[in-house]
Symmetry: C2
Subunit: 345 residues, 2 copies
């Protein structure tokens, strides 16, 4: 039989045959995905990966990624697909170890862009210290999906028996902390989407938070809650936790870090930074006696240099999240009712 | 604030707000997914699940599901999304335990159908003895995806240290077995898609194979390879294994089980059953001395009643998979070059 032509990463496109389970798919998987993610489990060529697992509780998560545009200041759909899943595993207090990646690709997608995105995923995984050990490729006909969707899943392990981190563990009197300024990711996406040029370019904060979390749980194993305020922003995350734990919260407006340029962009765009998505931020809730230690540990890490204590958990049967304004007044921070920024991640 | 209206599962549709990370998404997740998949990890309401893990090697896999139509004789996109991932974990010789589920939904998708599909996933998971412990929901605008895509990932554990099952372990002299007739799934999908009515209705073979695999590895822990011949059919699977292991294969045509009605449908549709997808079949390769024991163990299981020995592994530097015809001749079984049945799973 004639040798199969090599993939043309310059002008070639993804064809239906690349998802058909035959020779073309094997070639795409080998030359694009295995080449980029290179590790022993993937190289073995099975439909599943067998890996060693340290003793401990297992943490699992998954995230679909449909962001548009696929490349934006500070990241792209590939790096986001790695960071999103790494961070959700880390928010369970776990050390992320292995990822899976499922690709749904529209017929006609440029092979060069696919290889570029795979390369970005590989770099993001390396930086986060995780391996993409298995994957899946589906190709759908033109018009059946918007270019490329990536669904990653991740597993990690909690080796420290003392840790018990969940959104249902906040208690009145606990302290709220955040690792830095909010709103960067959403504004970066929107500015690219709307072709807005700001004086100071705004980059997504997309980053792997597992290193920061490792430092935090080592310093303060009594941490009760960790969550990354992605879709829906800080407002949605705090409301979720208040609801799960059956508590209220009071946040001091002046203490919530927001970059000047992000605040200005939000005003221009009619957005509230509290409801704008982040991809490299986390909220931590800890008992009051741990707050100082935890804050110090966060500030000692590059991704927590601008960490701040932003409020406290209250006893409130209505589970209201309230904002204390600079003038001493209070307003309720509600979840966003509708859709502010579709396909932000 | 006014109470949020309940989801209308009769006439309601998925809106962009259902993917926005706010109150509407929380409601969709609670009333559709948590209600259907009901388990302690999901109910906790975090972005990740923390679960106990028996000691052993971890096996991970992922599969995207884009099948059209979404419901077909013998299954639907929901049951398929569970079986596909359960089976890929089982093919590693592992006991599947936990699944994740990522949904990408088109704006305007009927909430009633979504709930029905979630119910089908829940039943399939229960039947397979696995839990769907965490998930993710994205909504894209009308036209940005074709209704619904589901990407599942799964983890399982290998507790028996003797097992070493991989596509690279076939050796000359080994025996090839299959657990039953091929081609049912692809023909079922195609007949529904093309609105064909056969005298004997053909149902997909979609089924969880983990119970069968457990019986097989208990009886013959020396099994070298397990793989489910899905996209690309038996032809692609045998070629993949031949390539991975650096061996050839000879399959006896008369011994490969194909239902009469599937053979007839394939003739009518111009398909070769060898290249048609299956979703409840597996190929096993074992040393010759284990073949009889393994065949008996397969036949003793409801999903292996029609199991058969279909061929042998050969020493062949060209890695050819050959078919021995009823007349004693031989032809090479190649992988499918193009795309025969798009969106079969």
């Amino acid at each position: 039989m004639p040798p199969h032509p090599p993939l043309d990463l310059t002008k070639g496109t993804v064809e239906m045959a690349h998802g058909a389970g035959g020779r073309a798919m094997a070639q795409l998987v080998r030359d694009v995905f295995v080449a980029a993610f290179d590790n022993a489990a993937l190289r073995r060529g099975d439909d599943q990966a067998t890996v060693a697992m340290p003793k401990g509780r297992l943490v699992m998560t998954t995230d679909g990624h449909v962001v548009t545009p696929r490349a934006f200041p500070g990241g792209d759909i590939g790096s986001l697909a790695v960071h999103g899943t790494v961070n959700d595993v880390a928010m369970g207090g776990a050390v992320p170890l292995y990822l899976t990646a499922g690709f749904i690709i529209e017929e006609g997608f440029a092979l060069g862009e696919l290889a570029w995105i795979a390369g970005s995923m590989a770099r993001a995984a390396r930086d986060a210290g995780v391996s993409i050990v298995t994957g899946d490729t589906k190709v759908v006909e033109r018009g059946a999906c918007d270019g490329l969707f990536i669904t990653t899943a991740g597993v990690g392990v909690i080796t420290d028996d003392r840790l018990d981190i969940s959104g249902d563990r906040a208690r009145p009197g606990d302290v709220l902390l955040i690792n830095g300024p909010i709103g960067d990711h959403g504004v970066a996406i929107l500015s690219k989407r709307e072709n807005l040029a700001f004086e100071t370019p705004i980059h997504s904060d997309s980053a792997p938070l597992n290193g920061l979390v490792a430092a935090m749980v080592a310093a303060a194993p009594g941490i009760r809650v960790l969550r990354d305020p992605t879709r829906g922003g800080l407002a949605a995350t705090l409301n979720e936790i208040a609801h799960q734990s059956g508590v209220g919260m009071v946040v001091r407006e002046a203490d919530v870090p927001v970059r000047e340029e992000v605040r200005n962009a939000c005003e221009l765009l009619g957005l509230d930074p509290l409801t704008v998505a982040n991809e490299g931020k986390l909220v931590a809730i800890c008992p009051p006696e741990d707050a100082k230690t935890l804050l110090a540990a966060m500030r000692a890490h590059p991704l927590g240099e601008a960490a701040a204590i932003i409020g406290t958990v209250t006893d409130d049967p209505d589970r209201f999240v309230q904002m204390e304004t600079a003038f001493g007044g209070r307003r309720i921070i509600d979840w966003l009712a509708g859709e502010q920024l579709p396909r932000i991640c």
